[in-house]
């Protein structure tokens, strides 16, 4: 019982984000003209997955107490690259996807190397590498375009049922067990696989724990013999890999490449907002990728909610798409200000200075 209480207090950020998301999403799907359907869930998870992956990419540097302003540009770089590589025969597609992820991880590693061995602050390093990534992306894809394998696009953006149907695995009808899960959206499955295969093992590894140690107190971590440099390099590389996944999924979803630097900037800022709403501390050392997933879910469901508001009703101005960014901003401000309420409960005024 005590254990449960401790776990709840430790994970209060992600839990609050999850509750907020559930409230918003129930509200949204009850107002939606056709109600909650598998199709609706597929569509919504499609719209969320790119930002979720990018938020995951942002989470790792933030856990270290840093920040990564280059996740958006790195995503567009991989997106542009994917629009060249991910098409053709099955082997070419797989090789292209692997190349995209390798480029993403290398971009993250570059950030890590400059931060660790150049001893520069992450915010300025990633500001500069972000410009470099944007430049390379523009070089690869001066105007939006390119192609991505349409079958892949179809499979990755639909319910699971389309996976065997598209590739003709079971010409005699799908087995019984598959009937139960075939309505699950593919983006959700991709996300779960990434979390189970990449994040959970990393979180439980020595390096993963070292990242949290470095984030909460680098000096103490150093004195305890934590391999600080390895932890930082691993975190930035994994962040780059997640950004690469985001870029790859974005390319598969849109079927093309786009190197727009403004779009990259918007994605970067949204990723920071999602990390904060998901309960990861910007000072480092607390939080995680799971919280960020719910953070993005909250951000996205706010947008969804405004869509279903009747534009003729009293709150019709909420339906104005141009105003949605403002409400997202207000909710972000509200969320961080509520999170700051602990300030007023502090017994020693000195402890408010970090």
């Amino acid at each position: 019982m005590k254990d449960l209480k401790l776990r709840i207090t430790q994970n209060i950020g992600p839990i609050l984000a999850l509750i907020l998301f559930l409230i918003l999403y129930v509200f949204y799907s009850s107002l939606h003209p056709r109600g909650f359907t598998s199709d609706l869930f597929v569509q919504n998870s499609n719209e969320a997955l790119t930002l979720i992956l990018l938020g995951m990419a942002q989470t790792l540097p933030v856990l270290l107490g840093g920040i990564d302003l280059s996740v958006g540009p790195l995503m567009t770089l991989v997106n542009s690259l994917a629009s060249h590589l991910v098409s053709g025969s099955a082997v070419e597609i797989v090789a292209g996807m692997i190349a995209c992820l390798v480029v993403g991880a290398l971009g993250g590693l570059l950030n890590g190397l400059i931060v660790v061995y150049g001893r520069l602050q992450p915010i300025v390093v990633t500001l500069a590498t972000g410009a470099v990534f944007s430049g390379i992306a523009l070089f690869l894809r001066p105007t939006p375009g390119g192609t991505v394998d349409p079958d892949l696009n179809w499979v990755a953006t639909n319910a699971l049922a389309e996976l065997p149907a598209t590739y003709g695995w079971w010409p005699n009808g799908s087995p019984a067990w598959f009937q139960f899960i075939q309505g699950i959206p593919m983006p959700i499955i991709i996300l779960v696989v990434i979390v189970l295969v990449v994040w959970i093992p990393f979180r439980r590894s020595e390096t993963g724990r070292a990242c949290y140690a470095v984030g909460s107190n680098e000096g103490a971590a150093y004195m305890s013999g934590v391999k600080i440099e390895r932890a930082k390099l691993a975190a930035y590389t994994l962040g780059g890999l997640f950004a690469g996944l985001a870029g790859l999924y974005f390319a598969i979803q849109t079927g093309s490449g786009n190197a727009d630097p403004i779009q990259a900037g918007t994605y970067t800022l949204n990723s920071i907002a999602a990390v904060v709403i998901g309960g990861t501390s910007l000072f480092g050392g607390a939080g995680g990728v799971i919280g960020t997933i719910f953070g993005v879910a909250v951000l996205r469901s706010i947008t969804f909610c405004f869509r279903v508001v009747d534009s003729d009703s009293a709150i019709g101005f909420l339906a104005n798409p141009l105003l949605q960014p403002m409400f997202e901003g207000l909710i972000l401000l509200l969320a961080v200000s509520i999170g700051a309420a602990g300030i007023f409960r502090m017994k020693n005024r000195l402890s408010i200075f970090r």
Partner: protein, 321 residues
């Protein structure tokens, strides 16, 4: 003897200024060689070109002065772009003699909101000012969505940004005045000392009996007011106040501040460095476009230059306990 005094002089010039100054000269030399080879002229060294660059740089320079105050505290202001746009758009919508005071007032208000969020609620400045930026964008969309207010700059804004005095463009004069005022404030007034001190250790300043929260609010207010001023001048310069007019100024302003040797964690940095950093960035972009470098190449060079400059003199200490 002469030798030691020379090296003392060299050492007294701080590294950021030296490196950035040398780099500016290198940019001009490379650009001039290019124009010499392609066109047979030395356009880049003509006073007209250099003055025009200073004029273009003055908008960024004023923003960077304000940004520097906040960076010296160890904070950052990401709401600068829409502070510029909001004050310029509101000033243009108001019109008449009160346009510029009201624009500055908008900046002051935004700065106070930022300051309260950072100083009293203790929200990390990066996330709070980011939120304020998004909210401002929404407010401006609301303002211009329902009806279309005037976006024409007033006569005063046009005069301050387009005319010149004795051949020196007015924005450059304003930039110089802002620099003198900020430098005086940082060097000679208690507020300036508090800013540097808070950047080093806020709790120590608090224990010295200083209301650090007020200092934070004042600095954020000054930063936003300078951004508002730059926004209104920019509106005059481009003859229109428009949405997203401030977006290209955020990252270059931060880059100018850190290239100028200001520690992004706060506590140290000189205004002269910020000025040189501003000129470096504007000149780099301009010369690269004179050399017909495509956007992709410009971005890459821009990023590489920031990293190279910082690796040369901005490295942090090794973790030693």
């Amino acid at each position: 003897m002469a030798n030691t005094s020379l090296s003392a002089v060299v050492r007294s010039i701080d590294k950021p200024l030296l490196f950035a100054g040398a780099f500016i000269i290198a940019i001009l030399v490379v650009g001039s060689v290019y124009t010499m080879v392609t066109a047979g002229t030395l356009t880049l060294l003509s006073p007209t070109y250099l003055l025009l660059q200073l004029k273009v740089a003055s908008f960024l320079g004023i923003v960077a002065c304000g940004m520097m105050l906040v960076v010296l505290l160890g904070h950052i202001d990401l709401s600068v772009p829409w502070t510029m746009a909001a004050s310029a758009m509101i000033a243009a919508a108001v019109g008449g003699p009160w346009a510029m005071p009201i624009g500055l007032g908008v900046g002051l208000l935004i700065g106070i909101v930022n300051g309260i969020g950072v100083a009293y609620l203790r929200v990390p400045s990066m996330i709070f000012t980011l939120g304020v930026n998004v909210v401002l964008r929404g407010l401006m969309v609301m303002l211009t969505g329902g009806f279309s207010p005037s976006s024409q700059p007033t006569d005063l804004m046009l005069f301050l940004s387009k005319n010149d005095v004795l051949g020196v463009p007015n924005p450059v004069i304003i930039w110089a005045l802002v620099c003198f005022a900020v430098a005086f404030m940082l060097k000679r007034t208690p507020l300036g000392r508090y800013i540097y001190a808070i950047g080093n250790r806020e709790s120590a300043v608090y224990l010295s009996g200083i209301n650090t929260r007020l200092v934070l609010v004042a600095s954020f207010a000054l930063c936003s007011m300078l951004a508002a001023l730059a926004g209104m001048l920019l509106a005059g310069y481009s003859s229109k106040a428009f949405q997203a007019m401030g977006d290209p100024y955020l990252l270059p302003a931060i880059a100018a501040v850190v290239i100028g040797g200001t520690n992004i964690l706060g506590g140290s940095g000189k205004l002269s460095g910020t000025v040189v950093g501003t000129i470096l960035i504007v000149l780099l972009q301009s010369v690269l476009s004179v050399m017909q470098m495509p956007e992709a190449g410009r971005q890459i060079i821009y990023g590489v230059v920031i990293i190279a400059m910082l690796l040369a003199y901005g490295r942090g200490g090794r973790l030693r306990l």
